[in-house]
Symmetry: C2
Subunit: 343 residues, 2 copies
DNA sequence: CTGAAAGCGCTTACAG
DNA sequence: CTGAAAGCGCTTACAG
């Protein structure tokens, strides 16, 4: 690649016999510059194929107009939808997005966050990785005066802006739906309990039992079943119990619910008549399986929109101290074939 | 958010009674600085919670260590996989990724590209939108001395680095598979022909007919059927023909193949016995449908890896002129239930 | 090994 | 409305 000398405002100024100050003003559409010269400057800039150096501009202005996003995996529907939702809003405001994936690795997450601090991003949006629960690196973000917005998977103890789902309520509704459908032995596939979202989903599960006065059966609660493989593994264990469950709430994700369905199909167990299945997240595939999977829609794109709007609202806000705002989005239970026993 | 004065190298220098030059050198691990002072500087930087301002550093060095990516949609499996693949490699080299989505809109694509030029990214990776075939904005990238790598959906006429699939070969194999499976009337759902990938897939389709000496039936070729909805619509038309097809190659995507499957299911047409279906892209859901869908795996994550590696290889290369390199990745036909007529 | 100085490309308070 | 000048935070060729 050959090095190209780029046009700067000095080149334009020189060509027109004026100063860079005026050029800068004109290109920023300041009204304290003569209309005619402004036009001339813009025209010349265009002719010389001038592109502003955002780096220099931002350095001078002490901002970066950039938002950093740290998520566990880009290529997971929920997260890519959140990103798409953020991008929709930020793009219009002239902000760029820098994306990092932590790969569910706490150390990489720390590295990502540090890189973003170095980049002097104006805001960091994060969904924490499952592994690790030391949040010094996030405190560090705040200490640098960078806006921090947590989304979905949040470190609860950190007082920051948060955009979350009402996981308790959603799980409560899902399990209630199963109970009302006549399922008697409802198992839970739970996720890593250091993540509050998974704790809350368990809480919703337990709450439903209490509300309907149904006793909780401890042996039907399976730890750490939060991938398709682990979900399948947990299901095999559950179904080989002397008293197997007649429904499974895969609270961690639809991936794990898919593992359940696979095992059920492989064992010739009929869904939903012999086994009800409910997932979480409304991944696109959950509609396509046979039977389709009952799940919970988190409005992921909308969550992304909300994150972005929250950021812009906050920067418009000149209070010296940001009160920790938490926006909780109510998810929606989507009832599909995998739990429709009657009808 | 309160404004925080960040620690700079001057703060460190002042505290230690030395100059910023030395601090800079130490923090860049230069070996022309006393080992002991270096240690002291690093320790002090740590104590003062110093973070380098990458903006300033990059401005000075005339590089940004940033790669811009423009894709039609972030939340589409293929593209998010490509991004994940790029990120895997660039992250390790200390490069950041700025992501923009064009929403399949040519004007937005131009805006995205211009924003990235303004950001002085070192490289732009693009998969062009379907709409529009004027590539002045991409020429402009080259004119600014920015590396341009096209991936998957490429503007053929532009001589740049490209990472693509062998679409002709893949389609040829898919259609050959259908012919050998005994399907006699094989329809084609084609995509916008201004995108070369879709032209090539059609070419592969035609090539297979020629190889097997089967006449092409024009009425079985459906234009612009490249979404689930358009695929379904095209299928309805095809199946209501006096001589309907007994197989459909949804060359545009698995989404379109899914549309075919939905219509077939709704009409009570048995897949694969009465109708064979082949999709494209190996989206995760194609494995889950009933029957599962035969498709073509493009190794999307690997394509992303390749893009990144190509970039790093090129910047290591000091030739004044970059020869347009094209890396073609051979996709793989994945045979599944939707075309397994015998067995 | 260390410092003084210039400069990356822009913006903006100050003067006129 | 326009200019001269300083400065954002860093890096680096030059001198010693």
């Amino acid at each position: 690649m050959k090095k190209v000398k780029r046009t700067t405002i000095y080149d334009i100024a020189e060509k027109l016999g004026i100063t860079a100050s005026s050029v800068s003003r004109a290109l920023n559409n300041s009204n304290q510059v003569n209309e005619k010269t402004k036009e001339l400057i813009i025209k010349t800039a265009d002719e010389l194929n001038y592109k502003r150096n955002t780096l220099a501009s931002n350095l001078r202005k002490g901002q970066s107009k950039t938002i950093g996003v740290v998520i566990p995996r880009i290529n997971q529907n929920f997260f890519s939808n959140v990103i798409a939702g953020i991008e929709e809003v930020t793009y219009q405001k002239g902000y760029s997005l820098i994306i990092c994936q932590s790969d569910e690795d706490h150390d990489k997450e720390i590295q990502c966050v540090n890189t973003l601090i170095n980049q002097h991003v104006d805001c960091i949006v994060i969904s924490v990785s499952a592994d690790g629960n030391d949040y010094q690196h996030l405190q560090n973000v705040l200490d640098h005066g960078i806006q921090l917005i947590q989304v979905d998977r949040v470190a609860e103890e950190l007082e920051t802006l948060k955009v979350i789902n009402d996981n308790v309520q959603a799980s409560y509704e899902a399990v209630s739906h199963l109970i009302e459908g006549g399922y008697k032995r409802i198992a839970l596939l739970e996720g890593p309990q250091n993540l509050s979202i998974f704790k809350q989903r368990k809480e919703g599960y337990l709450k439903a039992f209490k509300a309907y006065n149904v006793p909780v059966i401890e042996e039907l609660i399976v730890e750490n079943a939060w991938t398709k493989e682990l979900g399948a593994e947990g299901t095999r264990k559950l179904l080989s119990l002397p008293h197997p469950p007649d429904a499974i709430f895969a609270s961690t994700s639809d991936f794990s619910a898919l593992g359940v369905l696979d095992v059920a199909n492989a064992m010739g167990i009929k869904v939903p008549s012999q086994l009800g299945i409910c997932g979480y997240a409304n991944e696109s595939f959950s509609e396509i399986t046979s039977p389709s999977i009952t799940t919970i829609d988190q409005f992921s794109v909308y969550m992304g929109n909300t994150v972005a709007n929250l950021f812009f609202q906050e920067i418009g806000n000149n209070d010296t101290i940001t009160k920790p705002k938490i926006i909780s989005i109510k998810p929606e239970l989507i009832i599909r074939g995998s739990t429709k026993r009657n009808g």
